[in-house]
């Protein structure tokens, strides 16, 4: 089991060359709807990174130590989504209990994360590519960082676009899609930097 790849390489690849949102189209819904303001974008990015890292590890353990031995692999989608939802709920309670300040910043984004495709996508990629535990940890973290970077960059650009004179049909989602396209092109420049896809 496992690909003999340096975990650090996987992390860089996940963050830059195969960025979650720009080259795998994962997490687009919240990527577009929450990127109007840089502060909220930052909060959501942070929450996604955190949840993605930990759920990757959690789902790795659940998959290889519970589902595979019990031959319940076909139930994996339901199990993964339950693990993610339960973890997010748990995290919300913990943060609320121990750090109210963080809860105010992060709390409102947590429910959004359950249905964020990037989380489930990260987990499914990890299973399909047969990463080991350490690789999964770095992969989850790298993917989260990549998503965070992309949403903050997009929010910054959208804030600047506000005063610009855009054709009225393109205002809002239209121009956002085109900005994302240009960003994706820029990220394409990273490919070849790391020898994994």
């Amino acid at each position: 089991m496992g690909v003999p790849l340096n975990p650090f390489v996987i992390m860089v690849a996940a963050a830059l060359t195969s960025n979650m949102v720009l080259s795998n189209f994962l997490g687009m819904c919240s990527f577009i709807s929450v990127s109007k303001d840089i502060k909220t974008a930052n909060g959501l990015g942070m929450a996604v990174t955190f949840v993605l890292t930990l759920t990757s590890v959690l789902n790795y353990l659940v998959y290889y130590y519970i589902l595979v031995p019990l031959e319940l692999v076909y139930l994996r989608y339901i199990v993964f989504i339950i693990v993610i939802a339960a973890f997010v709920q748990f995290l919300e309670m913990v943060i609320d209990r121990f750090s109210p300040a963080l809860y105010i910043n992060l709390g409102i984004f947590l429910p959004l994360i359950t249905v964020n495709c990037a989380i489930l996508g990260g987990v499914l990629f990890m299973i399909i590519r047969e990463y080991s535990l350490i690789q999964s940890l770095f992969f989850g973290f790298g993917s989260g960082i990549g998503w965070w970077l992309a949403i903050v960059a997009l929010a910054a650009m959208r804030m600047r676009m506000r005063e610009k004179d855009i054709p009225p049909q393109l205002v809002g989602p239209g121009i956002t899609m085109i900005i994302i396209g240009i960003m994706a092109l820029a990220f394409l420049g990273f490919s070849g930097m790391v020898p994994v896809q």
Binding site: L22, S23, N24, F25, L26, G27, M28, C29, I32, S33, Y74, L75, R76, Y77, I78, F80, I81, I82, A85, T114, V115, N116, C117, I119, L120, G121, L124, F125, I128, P167, P168, Q169, L170, P173, G174, I175, T176, M177, I178, I180, G181, I182, A184, L185, L188
Partner: protein
């Protein structure tokens, strides 16, 4: 009643199209749009899932407690996605492999949750089923349009069959991710032009 069924059906395909108007659910399926065959299968799978999960959620809506409804909706959707995944693996193993994680990602496709929340929650099973199916069709049509442009210009073929002459130089950008964003942007631009002029 017949009228309202027909209205429900067509509203989602054009006036209220999930991709163009609501910008929902672009997540899971854009990645498969560089090839028409895969896109078609994905679209059919999505129509199946939205239709039946809307039907089920609408039929059970009086029994689902309000505060855990999200969780139950996700479970219902996941059940249908698992059925879809197993069917694909059994009958179309090649395509199932090419679609990879994106079949599973239908679960988190916002369209399905969106239809469940916005429509199935408050309407009867038959109308919800029509609503779900038409939302799926509206979504698939946009994806097919994107895939048409990408496959035609990126490979010079449609459904794997060569249509452009040998001398045609494939546009490499059409195979890579950015082109999908540009095409969606352009589709939104074209689709919104008539609406904006009316104002």
């Amino acid at each position: 009643m017949a009228d309202s069924k027909r209205e429900t059906f067509f509203a989602n395909i054009w006036k209220n199209n999930p991709v163009i108007v609501q910008i929902l659910g672009i997540c899971s399926a854009l990645a498969v749009t560089n090839n028409l065959t895969n896109t078609l299968i994905m679209g059919i799978g999505l129509i199946f899932t939205t239709g039946f999960s809307s039907l089920t959620i609408a039929a059970l809506r009086k029994y689902i407690p309000k505060n855990v409804r999200m969780m139950i909706q996700v479970l219902i959707i996941a059940t249908y996605v698992i059925i879809l995944d197993i069917v694909l693996k059994a009958y179309l193993p090649g395509i199932s492999k090419a679609l990879g994680p994106y079949v599973g990602l239908i679960i988190t496709n916002c369209i399905i949750m969106g239809r469940a929340e916005a429509y199935a929650q408050s309407h009867g099973p038959v109308l919800s089923f029509i609503d779900g199916v038409s939302a799926g069709i509206g979504y698939s049509l946009i994806l097919l349009a994107v895939a048409f442009v990408r496959e035609l210009l990126g490979f010079g073929s449609l459904f794997g069959l060569r249509v452009l002459p040998e001398g045609f130089t494939p546009w490499v950008i059409m195979i890579t991710a950015p082109s999908a964003f540009f095409i969606i942007g352009a589709i939104i631009w074209i689709a919104r032009t008539p609406f904006v002029k009316k104002k």
